[in-house]
């Protein structure tokens, strides 16, 4: 394992998107350990085989997949295996993977890939082991059907095993809602917003009550949630870029602009330190909440336990944002062992334990009948029945197709929203620039 990208340590080890975050202290330790281990590994060469016949497996993830305690368990059960995890920031993680695949060297044995980036990598199946060759055919039916399909470059090839799905809900601060004279009960709150327009209307009432907090954290997150409910996002399934022609994108944009210009947004940058501080200090009352966002809130704002609650998302509960897969790059010297580890980590029992600890929603269907999942309530979120909420969300969601540059296109549009939040451009100018940058980014 070589530390190839000279910037992987420079760039802030902060939190990217899906799958939640760790506590600051732990992140630092993980980083330090990762650096130390990779230096050591470089010194020992790339064989990945210990002198006593043990096999060293590396796994590269972003943020917190909640696997840490599972590694211990796996190593106890397989004494010949040692596992090292490399955690990076969301964007950098995927950039590194792309570089290492191109360089033909440096990728981990098991690598996580997020939905926005998946198509970029299914387009290069030669760089991944076909998991059908290692026993994945026996696992078909374990996951939601679309989850299984999306990581297949063609009918005979499977490169990834699903970890989580996003789903969508709204996390909100009960205490702030009460202060603003709004109902705090989650069913009453959900009844306030049958659609996004009424969600914004609640926002205007909230801001008018002058609690000192804003209604939502940031425009880009609202945009992701609204667009997450559309049948299509930035791409047609044949990889035609439709960022300009898809009416759902402009509609989502316009709603977000209404929120930003109406002063509903706290204009925080997602995953920035200020955003985290905002979570802790309660500078905003709602946040669009895929399941993995609950992990973020719990780990970044521990002191707010009990103040949060989870209500259904506007527009009838559907929609998705995020979710990942585990893959085995063909650079791995131990495909069989790597596959077995990935299959074990994504198995229902493990997915359930991750859900209970962090909140990442499993994509394995048998759990949706399992009361341990469906009846799970989370005390951090005022005992919200998150098991039921996200099971409903996962079953209701219509999967969107994500194309080869979805992540870059999304970033371009989000930057446009940020420019309006920053006061640099008018919504019209920002839209024009964003389209230009999106097309260029997809090129």
């Amino acid at each position: 394992m070589r530390w190839r990208d000279p910037l992987s340590w420079i760039t802030r080890p902060a939190d990217g998107s899906p799958a939640g975050g760790t506590r600051r202290v732990r992140r630092g330790r993980v980083l330090a350990a990762t650096v130390a281990v990779s230096l050591l590994a470089t010194a020992c060469g790339d064989s990945g085989e210990g002198g006593d016949g043990t096999i060293e497996l590396t796994i590269a993830t972003f943020n917190d997949f909640g696997f840490q305690p599972l590694y211990e368990q796996y190593m106890d059960e397989h004494p010949n295996i040692t596992i090292t995890e490399h955690v990076a920031e969301y964007q950098n993680h995927h950039t590194q993977l792309a570089t290492r695949l191109a360089a033909g060297n440096g990728a981990a044995d098991v690598v996580a890939i997020e939905g926005d980036f998946l198509a970029q990598f299914t387009a290069q199946p030669q760089n991944f082991y076909n998991l059908f060759d290692y026993g994945a055919d026996e696992l078909e039916g374990r996951w939601l059907d679309w989850k299984w399909q999306q990581s297949m470059p063609d009918a005979d090839t499977q490169i990834g095993l699903g970890t989580d799905v996003g789903g969508l809900a709204i996390c909100y601060r009960r205490d702030l809602f009460e202060q603003a004279g709004l109902p705090a009960d989650r069913d009453e709150v959900a009844a306030l917003w049958p659609d996004w327009e009424s969600y914004l209307e609640v926002g205007r009432q909230f801001v008018a009550a002058d609690t000192g907090a804003r209604f939502l954290d940031s425009g880009p997150l609202l945009f992701n949630a609204i667009l997450g409910q559309a049948p299509q996002a930035f791409y047609e399934p044949d990889n035609t870029l439709i960022v300009e022609s898809n009416p759902a994108i402009k509609q989502a944009w316009d709603l977000v602009m209404e929120a930003v210009e109406g002063g509903l947004s706290a204009n925080l940058v997602q995953y920035s330190t200020q955003w985290t501080t905002g979570l802790q200090q309660g500078t905003f009352a709602t946040i669009t909440c895929p399941a993995w966002m609950m992990a973020f809130i719990q780990s970044q704002a521990e002191d707010t336990a009990g103040n949060w609650d989870v209500a259904a998302v506007p527009n009838g509960g559907g929609g998705n944002w995020g979710g990942s897969w585990l893959t085995v790059p063909s650079q791995s010297d131990h495909p069989q062992e790597a596959y077995e580890l990935a299959a074990w980590l994504t198995a229902p029992e493990q997915a359930l334990s991750v859900f209970q600890r962090l909140g990442n929603m499993p994509s394995t269907v048998e759990l949706y009948e399992n009361p341990e999942l469906t009846e799970f309530t989370n005390p951090f979120f005022h005992d919200a029945p998150v098991g039921r909420i996200f099971t409903d969300a996962a079953q209701a969601l219509e999967p969107q197709y994500q194309g080869p540059s979805s992540a870059a296109v999304r970033l371009a549009v989000q930057n446009g929203i940020r420019r309006v939040e920053d006061g640099q451009q008018s919504p019209e100018q920002a839209w024009e620039t964003a389209l230009g940058e999106a097309v260029r980014a997809a090129d």
Binding site: E89, Y271, Q274, A408, E421, G423, Q424
Partner: protein
Amino acid sequence: MKRSGPQTRAVAGPAAPGPGAAPPPPDPARDPGRTERGPGRGAGATRPRLGFRHRLQRTDASVSPYLYVAPFFLLFLGFMLFPLGYTFYVSLNDWNLIGAEARSFTGLENYRTLLADPNFWNALRNTFSIWLLSTVPQLLLALGLAHLLNARLRGKTLFRMGVLVPNVASLVAVTIIFAQLFGRDFGLINWLLGLAGVGPIDWQAGTASSHIAIAVMVVWRWTGYHALIYLAAMQAIPRELYEAASLDGAGSFQMLRSITIPALRPVIIFSVLISTIYGMQIFAEPLLFDPKPGSVTGGAGRQFQTLTVYLYEQGFREFDFGYAATIGWVMFLLVVAVALVNYALTRRISSTR
């Protein structure tokens, strides 16, 4: 190695045979060739054939210096000149790290695209603006600081070493801390401004405000370093000059202006060059000042994206190596040009005194 100059040769050549006017024996180390031709020392002495040892010594004397400097030039060749040339070659290609149509020769196409690229000009403007905002205050502050440190102080070693501490601190840690200080909602600087009734300022959102914030980081980091260099040069200035000046009734500021600064000329040229090179290549500060983790655009509107950050975006996000190499080369030419202009200006300013 040959000492040039016709005079030397004129003296050594014809005068040598004369028995009376014995010239100083030519130094074999300096000019081995001439000893061979010349008649040797002492009048009329026939020169014995040189032994192996002697020849070895002569070879040693003429070749060794080259060997001593060779490591530097070999490293320079391998790690500077070759990459420079290769980067130029890459910049002439459409060179993508990823994808089937990986590379094709396109000549100067990348350079044409670059000159018409508004993002490039934006990055160039940002780079110059941040450089100016940081270099000028930094050098003035360093000068003042060095002047203070040059005075008789208790515990002056402590102070002198103390000013270097910011330079030793980890750049990444410093930048992250500064980004917090400049935070919009809970930043220390906005809190202080709030006490004075100003603000709050969204430092990262604006062009001017973000440039100032980044310049502050650079100034904080480098002022002490330049101050120490100035201090070292100041201590080489003879005390008598100051004594004479104070006898003539010059004040402290006048002495700084009329004695210290002119005497520091070469050092000022050096530090202007150093900070120019650093300023043109400034990278970690604007990269990490972006509130969005992993962002390489220098703010949502590229308001503080510098040239190196743009290069990084093109090379390591878009994987467009050809274009990134083009940016790299244009930056190289710029640094050379700016350094030359700087040199000329600084020289002229100080020599008119």
